[in-house]
Subunit: 234 residues, 2 copies
């Protein structure tokens, strides 16, 4: 078996790894001495809680985040040429989804390196499964634009896709802006459009609820600093 780039999911929040990570992932975790991560400090903690048995001080961490320039990452996959696996992890959930990890996987494809994506908690997909919305046609739109006028215009376009194409629309937001985002969408969307709020997925405090847009203005949940996915459909 030749060396690979292995994509390791990480539990969401303080979630118990046994609830959301297959046992098999741990075996592969222990074959890696080099990890590409968003932040070294949290990556050390995540390795420990996921059952890494090697010496964490012997692990090489390479950072990939919004401050990383593309020229810095060119050597990140070098261990694979020496027949050593390299792991890729994000801060939470599935790597390369809702984060810039694809800079690494794209480089791996260019170099003919085999990529092994592992199963784990993906908040976007858990939210979509539970939303009651169309799972046969959907789009993930990332973070909403900060400019309110731009976001209002985007919501109009997305409502066209919802009603004309039956396409579920999915968003994520910086957790401290969740409450604001929900109130804004509840007011601006058509009253018949439904919003699903999926919060703290895989955690004991998990909250998943689908309601007509306007109804979210009554008794809104407290979403501040809780990881949340927002989904829109008719």
């Amino acid at each position: 078996m030749s060396a690979k780039l292995i994509l390791f999911p990480v539990p969401i929040g303080d979630g118990d790894p046994d609830l959301s990570i297959p046992a098999y992932n741990r075996e592969l975790l222990n074959t890696c001495r080099t990890f590409i991560v968003e932040d070294t400090r949290t990556a050390r903690r995540n390795l420990k809680r996921m059952g890494y048995t090697g010496l964490i001080d012997d692990v090489t961490f390479h950072e990939l985040n919004e401050h990383t320039r593309e020229t810095e990452i060119t050597h990140y996959l070098d261990p694979i040429a020496r027949d050593e696996n390299v792991g890729l992890m994000s801060e939470a959930g599935l790597p390369c989804i809702a984060d810039p990890g694809n800079l690494i996987t794209a480089m791996a494809h260019r170099q003919g390196i085999e990529i092994l994506p592992l199963v784990g908690p993906g908040s976007i997909f858990l939210a979509l499964m539970a939303s009651g919305f169309n799972g046969q046609n959907f789009a993930f739109n990332g973070y909403p634009p900060v400019d309110q006028n731009k976001f209002t215009a985007q919501l109009k376009i997305l409502e066209t896709k919802i009603y004309r194409d039956s396409q579920t629309q999915i968003f994520i937001e910086a957790p401290y802006r969740n409450d604001k985002l929900l109130a804004f969408m509840a007011k601006r969307l058509m009253p018949t459009t439904r919003i699903c709020v999926a919060c703290d997925l895989t955690l004991p405090t998990q909250f998943i609820r689908t309601r007509m847009a306007r109804l979210w203005l009554n008794d809104p949940p407290e979403l501040n600093r809780r990881p949340t996915i927002f989904l829109l459909y008719k």
Copy 2:
């Protein structure tokens, strides 16, 4: 703890459940006596391989597939009112994604029933993770239209979204048509557009490769009857 609708992922193909299903799912599987499934025969087999310890002959199966009318499913969630969990499974992978399971989850939301989505193998998301394509903006378009002219027109629209919006485009196809679909897209897409073929995910025969469209015409892989996800990006 009150009764729930629990969404159970199923291994892809003949995949080993230990590789792709967290141990926790098995505990919850054994709390259910009623399952909503696409096909009863394969559901019995999937329950056994996932470690169901109850008597399969005592299990009630309700079918939900393309032949089911919406009026038939109204009683499917009745056990929950008697404080008994109900499970929902598709034939493979994540329920309610690329299948019509959302008829059930939408009904659960209308009835105020709690939904618990569990982690497991989602071929769309494993493919996206490994593709090297943008995971911050993506759309799943389901099955391509059978009419070739319609599909050519759709590909043109999707290429606009790829180049203008940097949105990854994802398709699935009936497995016996995979080879035809790849050849068709390789010829019709712009030569700079890249296609990722992600086949037999989580299986020992897994194959994931990203190349420029035209290059797929040389030595195409044999995809016939193998579960495959197709992704397009620039």
